[in-house]
């Protein structure tokens, strides 16, 4: 089989770090993640409409005011009360301004609307600190256990390389949430997107490592540099990597193109995560393992000549 890959892990890592650095600098200068109402909290405005109404009319009216992140719902068994959740506004005047603009638009269509007894209250985040803290702790704990499993089934270096890759994929996702802050807001579905990529990314890495493990057992490759074994393994896995990435991307991109705003908030980070996973499993994870393994073998060889041959045969 013609080997199509070379070790580009150093430039690949530098490029990935550069993206993270851009995001970091942006955050430091106050252009960080664009938190939506799920994380930042917002304003709850409530009206008694005194008649049934179309939620889409209210949504159109909100969009006309330049709002993109909002939730409109009907409350009450008679379905005549309107509940709007929007991001926090900076001043009482702005709330007043928005309310009067909304009222003008809606009164035209729903003349029974009660504008005198409207309420506007600040509400806290839906994805509270407890949920977020818990999600982060769970992911860390899951990573440790996955590292343990991979160390058991493969070796410790594979485990370390896999977790570093996983961290890369998640950090790239978060970085793009910063870089694309004008396009996408972070709401609670981001947590689900992040967890999806954690599961997806580890699959990608394991498939490559499985091939490396198999090739390591092959006597023909025992004299090769580990880096070259990785080159070969990545090439052998390429068909699978490309096909799986395509099938996954097909469904997600369909959702992104056709979906509503809340679906885009979820699918955009996933698309980025899938691409990051492709990038890291082809260009990074195997080579990190090769670096660690080669260094370990060299050290062993210095200490005890002939150790490398023994290890390869084992």
């Amino acid at each position: 089989m013609k080997v199509l890959f070379k070790n580009y892990s150093v430039p690949a890592t530098i490029f990935a770090l550069a993206i993270m650095l851009v995001a970091l600098v942006m955050s430091i200068f106050g252009y960080g993640i664009n938190y939506g109402i799920d994380f930042a909290g917002g304003l709850n405005i409530s009206y008694n409409m005194n008649s049934t109404f179309q939620q889409s009319d209210v949504e159109d009216a909100l969009r006309a005011q330049g709002l993109t992140d909002f939730k409109v719902s009907t409350t009450g068994t008679e379905k005549t009360t309107l509940d709007i959740r929007i991001p926090k506004l900076s001043s009482e005047e702005e709330i007043q301004k928005l309310q009067s603009a909304l009222e003008t638009t809606l009164l035209a269509k729903y003349p029974d609307m009660d504008t005198t007894n409207a309420t506007a209250t600040y509400v806290g985040p839906v994805a509270g600190a407890t949920l977020v803290r818990n999600a982060i702790i769970s992911v860390c704990l899951a990573s440790v256990l996955m590292l343990g499993y991979i160390a058991l089934r493969f070796d410790l270096f594979s485990g370390i390389a896999a977790i570093v890759t996983l961290l890369h994929d998640v950090l790239i996702m978060i970085s793009f949430m910063v870089i694309l802050r004008n396009v996408v807001q972070m709401n609670s579905s981001f947590i689900a997107a992040m967890l999806t990529i954690v599961g997806y990314s580890i699959n990608n890495t394991i498939v490559v490592f499985d091939r490396i493990r198999e090739n390591n057992r092959n006597h023909e490759y025992a004299k090769m540099k580990r880096e070259d074994v990785v080159n070969l393994s990545v090439t052998q896995c390429l068909g699978r990597t490309v096909n799986t990435t395509l099938t996954t991307l097909f469904t997600v991109v369909c959702l992104y193109i056709m979906g509503v705003a809340s679906i885009r908030e979820f699918t955009l980070p996933i698309i980025i995560g899938i691409l990051a996973g492709l990038y890291s499993s082809v260009l990074m994870s195997g080579y990190y393992w090769a670096y660690l393994e080669e260094r370990y073998l060299n050290r062993k060889k210095k200490a005890k000549p002939g150790a490398k041959v023994q290890k390869a045969e084992a």
């Binding site: 409350t75 509400v123 256990l145 579905s189 967890l195 599961g199 097909f250 959702l255």
Partner: protein, 458 residues
């Protein structure tokens, strides 16, 4: 004779393969039909298909249990509370109200989580309000059962004087007594344990009374002093009763007093079109995935598409049956994404089969060896994901838990369909049709000369 026998055996094997495929096809269509149309009695589902089936009282409303949807897709009920410090804490100057409010919100969220409402949201309203939105509930009065109305527990001595209250209670749990009858188990604080011990020591031979909101739970005769702080309250309780009591008593342990402000139904935040477009996107996505699979792996890809249909039906059933899932729009998107990921195991397997076919092995061998070689990658990659899902299920809260359940189900279902169903289909199909060109593209270009295989074989 010998030749004849072998000939018949071959036919038998082909026939049984064809029968196997036909049976699975019928089962897939049948189960798929039920999954899409349901089994109810309005001449649409199973009973239209099989009119001779005995009729039951099952109606569209009672069965099948529809898939529970989240707040964004279906709405639910909401309740707003006004939180205040209770009398005991009012005089305490070290109290941080915000911390207590956060604790109260966490307890409410945890309580609803334990009841399976993982997509519940609990938010702070203004400075002292708490708003709880619960999906998949239509009757506002259920909220009280779910969150619990705080109850007042009192222990009375033989003269009817209260000597101990609910504040000395550490936990109250529903359990069973030595006769397996429902009972309540109390564990007391250190202070409560001493109080109760001293009181029972004084009341030997007399009766004391345990009351909940003024209603007598139990009036046992004291035989000996009971120290140690754990009490088992027995009587003629039903299981539901003890569970309600336990919940109500635990509610008494909320750090703040809650006064219910508003309680009503709330509609979905997303219109019907959000669900429709997502489902349309899913159908297009599935179609593209199948097209790609057939393009890359031909007949094997078609079988993978068949297995994918079985996976989708399985997921529908599991989500409806397994508790603790309320599907939100991101949840549905996650399942659709799972469809793309579900074919991954098939891709890994088919790539391995392709390699073997290129080496010139007959398809039957190539499939067997391909599956064997792919198994470690499929198992290891899925087991790591399962480990992650289980951790999230046990340590995560709220929507993270709901997500973990869906993830776990989809990994297990996809692994089952890829390993069992695809293998069943493919092994039978290659018995019927042996030509490798039906399963593998580029045979002409990549196939190794038979001589090379002979040389490689050990």
């Amino acid at each position: 004779m010998k030749v004849n026998n072998r000939g018949r055996k071959k036919i038998n094997r082909k026939t049984s393969a064809a029968i196997g495929l036909a049976i699975l096809l019928v089962v897939t269509i049948f189960v798929g039909y039920i999954a899409l149309n349901g089994m109810w009695l309005d001449n649409r589902g199973l009973y239209k298909l099989l009119p001779w089936m005995p009729k039951t009282n099952v109606t569209k409303e009672t069965w099948p249990k529809p898939i529970a949807l989240g707040l964004d897709l279906k709405g639910g009920v909401y309740v707003e509370y006004e939180a205040t410090l209770n009398d005991e804490l009012k005089n305490d100057s070290n109290i941080n109200f915000d911390t207590l409010l956060t604790n109260t919100m966490d307890i409410i969220a945890k309580r609803l989580n334990e009841k399976g409402y993982t997509e519940t949201t609990v938010t702070k309203v203004g400075d002292t309000g708490i708003r709880v939105e619960i999906p998949d509930v239509t009757d506002p009065s259920v909220v009280l059962d779910l969150i619990g109305s705080p109850a007042k527990l009192e222990f009375l001595d033989s003269d009817g004087n209260v000597f101990m209250e609910g504040s000395d209670l550490k936990t109250a749990t529903a359990t069973v007594d030595e006769n397996s009858k429902p009972a309540l188990s109390f564990s007391l604080t250190d202070k409560g344990a001493k109080l109760f011990g001293d009181m029972t020591a004084k009341s030997i031979g007399k009766t004391i009374s345990i009351q909940l909101d003024g209603k007598e739970l139990m009036s046992p005769k004291v035989d000996e002093a009971i120290y140690g702080g754990s009490i088992l309250v027995t009587g003629s309780f039903t299981k539901d009763q003890v569970e309600t009591y336990a919940l109500q008593l635990q509610s008494g342990a909320l750090p703040l007093d809650l006064r219910q402000d508003k309680l009503d139904t709330i509609s979905a935040t997303l219109g019907d079109n959000a669900l429709t477009t997502s489902v349309n996107a899913a159908i297009i996505g599935i179609f593209l995935v199948m097209l790609l699979m057939i393009g890359r792996y031909r007949l094997a890809g078609a079988l993978a598409s068949w297995a994918l249909c079985i996976y989708i039906i399985l997921m529908f059933l599991l989500i409806a049956v397994v508790p603790g899932i309320q599907l939100t729009l991101p949840g549905i998107a996650g399942i659709i994404l799972g469809i793309g990921m579900a074919v991954d195991a098939n891709v890994i397997i088919f790539e391995r089969v392709k390699e073997e076919a290129y080496l010139g092995r007959p398809m039957m061998h190539a499939v067997r060896i391909g599956f064997k070689n792919a198994m470690s990658a499929v198992l290891d990659s899925n087991i790591t994901t399962i480990i992650a899902a289980i951790v999230l299920l046990f340590y995560g809260t709220g929507s993270v838990q709901g997500f973990a359940t869906t993830l776990l189900l989809s990994v297990i279902a996809s692994m089952f369909t890829a390993i069992t169903v695809t293998r069943f289909l493919l092994s039978r199909m290659v018995t019927l049709f042996k030509d490798p060109n039906l399963y593998v593209i580029g045979m002409k270009k990549h196939a190794v000369k038979p001589a090379a295989v002979a040389g490689e074989a050990k």
